[in-house]
Symmetry: D2
Subunit: 337 residues, 4 copies
């Protein structure tokens, strides 16, 4: 059961609901949100009667939710969530392309990449300033210097910027520079970090953990949304399977399944998903055909000299060719791009 308070419910009204829940021997989980408070109820073995709550003052709704994820569910909100980035709308009729290098490496590199992906039709620039690397001895990103270069590229091109935040220590700093905050696959179940994204005034791109089920992924999104940030997009980037010819197994099955279960936008990352440059375009096309709201693609001016992920980065020319095909596929599924 989820009790959703009206936007301007008073403290006293909220407290009355909490007290009522406790008096029933159940646990109340108040979830302060940007615009309204929701109160999750747990501890009930069987279904609760919404009638207990829906007539109380300040209560907007009492929702009996069949899925373990609630606020992100289409049961709770039927219409698509559209994330508006100053005119660039993720989750609407337009399929949004995000592109750029794995890591921000230098002023020249990021500007060159930004101008190239802009020209090809991308609306967001991707690029990592903080890089989670399997080895502590590998290149870990340019940190704030990288963020500044992303901001510069935005200034020059008008592209919005999506970049990864790895921890709460750097959250405020990254949020200062970025338009969209990416949560990496390895942090998908870093619940402490997820909770801190609630009060942040930036949309979140939540990558799927490499062994996360769709349900666990939606539960991770629920952490963010229940903490008050409703601007969350989900990014499929490949799961871990037994197959070794590809870096990961891009799970496009997740796309239609998610679109049915949740109102949040769904983005596909073919670069990490298959991890092989020559096959990235095929998987990007397939992602669009499967119903994705966006793609995020690694593009590097000179992939062979990239400090990270060069083997899966497209050249600007390859990205441009992909965009041309992508537009036709978008049309075939009733979208624009």
């Amino acid at each position: 059961m989820l009790v959703v308070m009206k936007p301007h419910a008073s403290e006293a009204e909220i407290e009355a609901v909490l007290e009522k829940i406790r008096s029933m021997g159940l646990q109340a989980h108040p979830i302060p949100g940007a615009q309204r408070v929701a109160i999750g109820i747990t501890g009930n073995k069987d279904g609760l009667d919404p009638g207990h709550f829906e007539t109380m003052p300040g209560v907007a709704d009492a929702i009996r939710v069949s899925q373990p994820f609630k606020l992100v569910s289409r049961e709770v909100k039927e219409e698509d969530t559209v994330i508006d980035l100053g005119g660039v709308k993720l989750g609407g009729p337009e399929i949004i392309a995000m592109a750029g290098p794995c890591s921000v490496e230098s002023r020249t590199q990021i500007l060159e990449a930004a101008h190239a992906v802009k020209a090809a039709g991308a609306k967001l620039l991707r690029g990592g300033a903080f890089k989670p690397r399997t080895s502590p001895y590998e290149f870990q990103g340019l940190a704030e210097e990288g963020l500044k270069l992303l901001a510069l590229a935005r200034e020059q091109t008008g592209l919005k910027v999506v970049t990864e935040v790895m921890d709460s220590e750097n959250l405020a700093m990254v949020a200062d520079y970025a338009d969209v905050l990416q949560i990496g696959a390895r942090n998908m179940q870093n619940y402490s970090l997820l909770r801190q994204l609630g009060p942040v005034k930036r949309p979140i791109l939540l990558k799927r953990g490499p062994s996360a089920t769709i349900k666990e992924w939606l539960m991770a999104a629920e952490y963010i949304v229940s903490a008050g940030n409703y601007q969350v997009a989900l990014c499929e980037r490949g799961i871990r399977t037994f197959e070794t010819m590809t870096r990961n197994t891009l799970d496009l099955n997740a796309v239609p399944v998610l679109k049915a279960l949740t109102h949040l936008p769904v983005v596909v990352d073919p670069s990490h998903g298959i991890g092989l440059r020559k096959h990235v375009a095929a998987m990007a096309r397939a992602g669009i055909a499967a119903g994705a709201d966006g793609i995020i693609v690694e593009v590097h001016p000179n992939p062979d000299r990239a400090l990270s992920d060069g083997h899966q980065s497209l050249t600007p020319a390859e990205f441009d060719a992909l965009m041309k095909q992508a537009r036709v596929i978008a049309g075939a599924v009733g979208r624009v791009m």
Copy 2:
């Protein structure tokens, strides 16, 4: 190393090559084929010099193959294999749709299904007469009665027929009725059966085993091809992963990877792949966008009353709608449908 004999190499020429191999302390594996004999050489720790063989009488070529799969590899044969089914060409510019019920259940059912998928644009009729079922207590198919009904449907519609053969005992019988023989996922590494497909004059649709790597799958195809049957198509039908919301995880990554590694046609089975009726069309579209040469889709006149797989079968109307979208996507990737 693979020594490929000329089409009409004599017994003596072949024996001379075998003798030469043995004299080097290596194992020779003569592979009688429909048109020519190939001789696999194993036991060599390092690479062999092709010069040992390529000047011998009757030898067409001595191929040093970097991959463990050889005859199915693009290294050995660069041009696409096109399987010609009396005018229906799998592996050429046209993307071929195969459709029909999971199991043949009755005369009415299969004829109704056949006419419907024909009208929507399918070129092959699928339908199982022998059904491998997880439980010995489940419906196992109509056997020869089912094959006869498939033949009747072919007669009425002109559709070609693809159906599964489960064992050597029924191989000749199934080959009598079918245009294409399907080897099911669970039999992908039934090497005894694969070898017996060599002399059969029917193309083979080889489904991927649920936990088979792409390499193992190509090795399974190599068993068939090396036994003399070069008409093999590969069918991706979903792999087994940790995800439980979908029946399997349709691995579309395999499509571009296969198209690069092998000259054999690649078919996608979205029905078994995702296993949920409402999402089959999305995965079929994605498969085409990823580069598949064909799709195979479960269609049943009345899915809710199907004896098997009803939850993943499309209605004729849903299949018709899918075909319309599929044609647009095919155009976007330079194919027709």
Copy 3:
């Protein structure tokens, strides 16, 4: 529902039950067994009332089975099945060791291996005469010549022989020579072959398929048992996961789970399971500690020169050392060895 007929139920009594089932609009699956007929009933949406059948003449029992596997379930038969191989009892208090080379390679090799594993305490000799190999170009076994050598080794040592049967074509031949027939992992769901094991008068060692769930594995055993052969042992040999440092992931969790669900004996194969010689002993010990009824271990007189699986075969001395440790662990879990 499973209707179990009395051992000497008449044809007429059986037919009456079948007729009754059909008259209820359900499917009847008569399962001829060695000693009695069982009749599986399918097609019922809800539970059936056993009372419909249990008073009919010739009916021993009408079992409402909660699991999809029935005859192999502890619900149907509570006491452990003990397979008696002329005094060697698998499934009783003694933990049975089976050992020998991957493949029978030569008279010298198999006799040397047999004498060594006998001396160390093994009760069965393993060795493949028919080898399912991923590549058609690899050593495929000595066939009947290998079976003859196994029989010779049995004659000299008194060890029982367990060896793989790959197909129905060679089933009778292998059954002539072997004491136990092994069904390999890749054939675990070769249902046509499984059914043919019903009338065979030899116990079966059914290996788990690399991606088979425990339930599917038990259903495969159900195929054999329902066809009349109740002498089936299950062999865990490693499943396929994402981990690449080991050949497979030996799933010892399956051991206690199986012991609770089924009355059939459970054997562990640490050689294929972990696939690394230096770690085989640790996994064999762990298998015994987890409750296995037997272990099957690859032992080769000279692993570095083995034609197959040398990297995971123990030397006779290593096997002898393992057996000494194994006996202590067996004692710790109340068994002998």
Copy 4:
């Protein structure tokens, strides 16, 4: 290449090495440690000559490491790491049992559990005060109140305390109360958190991520060790596979593989590993037989009323019975318990 500085190398000596590395066009990654600085070198395509560094002032060693993990590798340190917790030694001849409830729930519960597991022979008390839960609506632990109760239980029983730290915000607080800090499976690749464990004066129990390869797990340990904390133990707790009958698949194969690759102690968690109360003891025994240095087991005074993980928690009596068996198995592998 890893350049290890002497314990009291001067700033100038370190700077000289850094300068040398940069002058070679490579990246230097200084890793400040508790006792000495190590400098990882990356950017070299081929192997580096250690001679470049090993004669420089202040340099202890220049290590060419074949594995990507370095400081945790047996190549770098051959002898076992023994973590001394005031007399309780993890990684030495004694196998250490850690036990207690999933979550600290109340004063009565934790004290009762502590006394019971102490009586049975456990040396550490486990219990979560901060609980990473899949759902934001589930019980999240008692936080500092739970830590205080753990400290109280330590006072009363003399048991050492191991408990989870979820984030940097609470790191200092948890370190104040706990003897060993547990990093949960979902945080195994939370690199920001791992790095902060370097300066902490507490041993770390690093759980394996549910889809982490052994190599990735060792790389995660390398993050902690390279940041200065050499007191790290690895805890196998089950990986994610396709099997659904068990909560996870406890991967005991990892135990002997790790013991060969690393000098760090290895602990097995059968409770999360198999996730079924009646099978926990079998997996604990198997873990010991496989060579683990410790086990960590969920024990609750009243599992059926536990707020979390009751279905996999042993009763005190079950734990006591397990410990008796465990001691015999420990003896069989040359250990004490």
